[in-house]
Symmetry: C5
Subunit: 321 residues, 5 copies
């Protein structure tokens, strides 16, 4: 689906154009074309490949989707793959945006997520002095938008972790804790796959030789790289904490088992000792003087209560009860 196809000159919007006119505008000096597609059909992609003269391997990647985040050079053209993450019904939905950037064009192909880049285009069009820098700046704006959208979603993951941590040392729900930790680790993996490869690719980008498209934009791409490193650090911290929390959870389960066992044993003692005593006075010896006593029975009760009271006192002191 074609979202928009616009030609720009000197940082100003020139016109909404037809896809078939693209090559005409590419021929004009100081003019660049910015096309946004959403889950395009094969025909549209082929048209774009022809108009922009894109490398077949890159187009094939965009058609199939499910790529890792990456930044590849095909001659003068830069092919960038970004993951987009959207919360959806308690889970995380992962989409993809594939960006082709050349000297005088930028083409974004989005799929799998709802939120587009309308706001990015609006912001760019309001800052003509920056948009004048051309497709390299638009690439920066797109990447910046994608990366900045990671932050609030990762913060919900952090918040979930804090909620789990609060329950970790409470005795309430070890089962829920461990299920939640496991699920959280899976959700975190989505971010690792989005952030890690991109950070690596950007590291290569801002290295010695910078592609022509991005020349003079070093500080901007370093800024994205810096955001990714902050995300990465947060991800690693969460990961580390989750691992520790899982093993702490096991310790807590074992500890509770141990404490439960003690409490059970305490109650067992409170029952077993009187059981022995009543057994004694259930014996049938001919000569058992206590049985003949007037208050034997009452004394027996007294004995049982006294012993249990003592046991109870001792166990309470030892914190078994």
């Amino acid at each position: 689906m074609l979202i928009s196809c616009v030609a720009y000159q000197n940082g100003e919007k020139l016109a909404d154009i037809e896809p078939k006119q693209i090559h005409e505008y590419l021929a004009r000096p100081d003019c660049f074309v910015w096309v946004a597609l959403f889950e395009p059909d094969a025909g549209t992609l082929e048209l774009m490949q022809a108009e922009f003269d894109l490398h077949p391997l890159a187009v094939e990647d965009a058609r199939h989707g499910h790529q890792r985040p990456k930044i590849e050079e095909y001659g003068d053209c830069l092919f960038v793959v970004l993951h987009m993450v959207e919360p959806a019904a308690g889970e995380l939905r992962v989409g993809e945006v594939d960006v082709f950037v050349g000297r005088n064009y930028i083409l974004s192909v989005r799929s799998g997520v709802e939120k587009g880049f309308r706001d990015v285009r609006a912001r760019c069009e309001h800052e003509p002095q920056l948009l004048r820098r051309g497709p390299g700046y638009v690439l920066y704006a797109l990447m910046d938008a994608v990366v900045d959208r990671y932050f609030p979603i990762l913060q919900t993951v952090e918040a979930d972790l804090e909620r789990i941590e609060e329950g970790l040392f409470a005795e309430t729900s070890p089962r829920q804790n461990i299920e939640a930790l496991y699920a959280l680790k899976q959700r975190l993996m989505v971010f690792r796959h989005a952030v890690g490869p991109l950070l690596e690719a950007l590291g290569n980008l801002s290295g010695a030789r910078v592609p022509a498209v991005c020349s003079g934009m070093r500080e901007y791409f370093r800024d994205i790289s810096d955001h990714l490193q902050r995300l990465n650090q947060t991800i690693e911290s969460i990961r580390d904490t989750v691992s520790t929390a899982i093993s702490v959870n096991l310790s807590m389960i074992t500890l509770q088992e141990s404490e439960t066992m003690k409490r059970l044993a305490a109650y067992a003692a409170l029952i077993a000792v009187p059981t022995l005593i009543v057994g004694v006075y259930g014996m049938n010896f001919d000569y058992m003087p206590e049985l003949r006593w007037r208050h034997g029975y009452a004394l027996c009760w007294g004995l049982m209560v006294a012993i249990d009271g003592y046991i109870f006192y001792r166990l309470r002191k030892a914190r078994w009860l």
Copy 2:
């Protein structure tokens, strides 16, 4: 076993030729020879070594098999070892294909797996404009085919993992879970050994100095490298998940043990308390007024039922039952 031995010129098939004629065709300009062998005997390998003038160390590797995936240069000749993976009776069968590539020849030696490269040859012959690029392109096509065949098999591993995960928090079968996780980790190792070293070797290949055979094919080999990186990322994710799942499984076992113990203790309490009571009234004291009561026995039953009812209510509230 000789599968096929064909000479190509300008991207077109020239003729099926005899192995002994190979050196004649190698002498012609613009002509290259593509030979495919399957588990060849010593004689065939020696003939090939003579016809193509292969390095003895590389031929020895091909004869013995069981190599790691690798890409080695012997002068102008490139020696490539790839692992092939085939599902076989619930397990994974690992085969090997050793490829010798020179300026005007390519020789593949397959062993251990059934599926060959008939489809690769067919596709190449249908694209003469690409086949014209010579043995370097054929090498790419072979490697691409081998790597692409990993994907569906790794997906079955992923599917198995998801099935295990579903049972992880159910109380049904911890023993099966852990056996399945262990087996899955072993199966994963097959992929790590196939993918990891090849990715590393390709990294060296696409580095500074590119072997003559692959010149002008950089984007193609980078594409394979990219596929391998996706595989690698999937493998690492599964590995990480399996490790977590194993420790979660231990937590679940301990947790279930703990819960079982509580349930057992609950039932024990339901039996032990009445046992104490009946013991009391089994005592032989001369003076035990309850024993003389008309409804003593019935009251005793009532007492036992009441106490057990109360205990049951308390334990149910505490979720021990």
Copy 3:
């Protein structure tokens, strides 16, 4: 909030100046301006950006805060972010100081922590021969102060760990131990985020090409780097020890459970055996000679005491009691 704004010449304080005069002083040769801000409002930051001609991306970072420690070059200007750590009510409060350093100015923007850099300014002003080196030396002095303040706080973490270790093999409080270890690991993460990225950034700084501002100061920055490496080593040691302590704690819990079980079983045996004996003499067989003996009852008691004594002796010898 403006803390101070001072111009220096030849290592001597020239005058407290108004922010709006800054550009005048920057124009003088051999003169540099040192401004300190605390949680400035937007207007102040904009004024500074205008006076010092700071890069918008760096100013944006300073405005938003919550950056990772880093050292970035924007043309001739160095932008440095440092974390500051302050103990606050048993927890650690993390603040930030962002430093802009140019050829003839240094601007520090502190936020989140109370303690400022009054002492650093005082020390610098007492050493004119060093202050004469200009903003590069002031940057060193600020970084040195920030890093040196980490040491005593990290030492309290170490002391806490030692306290926990002492309780690790005592049977008293496994629950507190594990809670304390978990909390300590979280506190340690604050330091890792403060120290790790800064160490990495300094490594790049003292590498091949040194920014103009820091030229001739290599030994000084290497000294900070060395302090950071000591901190880093301590952090890694604590981390490693905490991990080991957590798993040792689990072992201790399991071990105590095991020992508790043995003690319980021992007591159970001391009760169960006499219970069986009294059961025997509670049987109603017509012919049970012991029941008729004159001292049957006494002998029965003797038997029970003797058996329990023997069991007690055996269990004590086996260290179950």
Copy 4:
């Protein structure tokens, strides 16, 4: 002990010579001397040092032994340390061979293992066209022999691991399993210490600058490096599997404990319930109608059998029995 001392010319054996004659032969062009020692005394080593003009630090290393595998250059002389591994009474015996290689000599000093290099010398003497390459080729042949001897021994370790794995999920012998895994990990360490440092040293060797002795032999040393990488991969796989197996073993132990507990509890229930019933009818109430029934006793037995039958049926269905 001197094993042999031979001079070679043009790949042919010239003569067995006396150690004291060595310097004479070294003076001849196209001639090289190959000396093999086994646990030599101090005098022999000193003689060799004098004849070959060896560096004192290297000779000291050879005298003391217990070095890590390494490849060091002392001027024109290469000093190579290799570990040799021999199975000995269920354990692994580690020996060492120290090789000094110069332009026209090679000296090997073996210690700690029985098997020497007679076969290597024989093979070299049968291939004069290779032996003509001089000491560099002999070094390759020695290293190749040492490395190839690792394979069968490592395979026995792999076989042992497979045997343990088979018993891992059987309930028979968790104690033997864990002892065997621990012992296996220790045995593996021997290989890690033999293979890892050597692989690293070879990586440096085949890097940019190749020592004069090995010039023109790059493919051969790369071949050894490849063998070492295969060994290394196997070692890492086993290591990883052993770690997983140890934690799986812990899970299996806990699981069996849990299952044992259930079975015990089942039996306990089968005894406790009838015990309660017989207690009921041991009570001494005056009015207990069942006690007067003609078939009271038989009914009581019937009740107990019925209840136990029902409990048994339920527990069997729940797989506790």
Copy 5:
């Protein structure tokens, strides 16, 4: 405290000199001064700083102590920090020696340990041909002595580990084992902090550019590096083994718990079954024929013994007893 202050010329001791004369001797050609201090006061250090013209940052490090091992260049002067390890009352005492080396002087500042470098000086003075090489050789001799003293102490750690391993699979003392393993890991950390940073620093030293003081001594410093790598390998092996031993210990504890539980259950069964039987014959049914039998009581005993015998036989066969 000044230990000694000696001037050397051409490898021969010239004279014991006064600290205040140092600068005179430094002025002489071919002469160098070797000063050894032990925990010097501030005045002595200041004197040294003045006489040798040492960098203030390095002197400050030496004054404060507690540095990481490192090798730093301050202009022509090399500043080396080494850790010294001494066994002291079952623990390890860590001291430090800081060495300043220049073109014609070497100054060592030792603190925290008792053993000095008298033997090093003696050995150097006995080898004038080596001592002639100047301060670089003395530095080597000092470092070599420090590193060589690590070996016997680390061997006692290894011996301790072996002693623990022997007890690991015995059932005697899991508590002592785990305490010992924990303590051993702490002791190991001392070595890691001594060896790791020094190895890294030496790696930089023997890299591309060698400080003037050490020129021509490459083989010697590589030899130290090699010793450190051996130590490092041993440390890593012990670390790895300790980690495995800790988790094996947990398995053993769990396993023993499991086995104890089985034995307890076995004894419980031996008591519970007769208890049920005696309960049966304690019932008060009017019609219980066994009670009237002449040998009822004896038969009852026989029954109990027979059943317990059978249970005992079965449990012994199942290895529960």
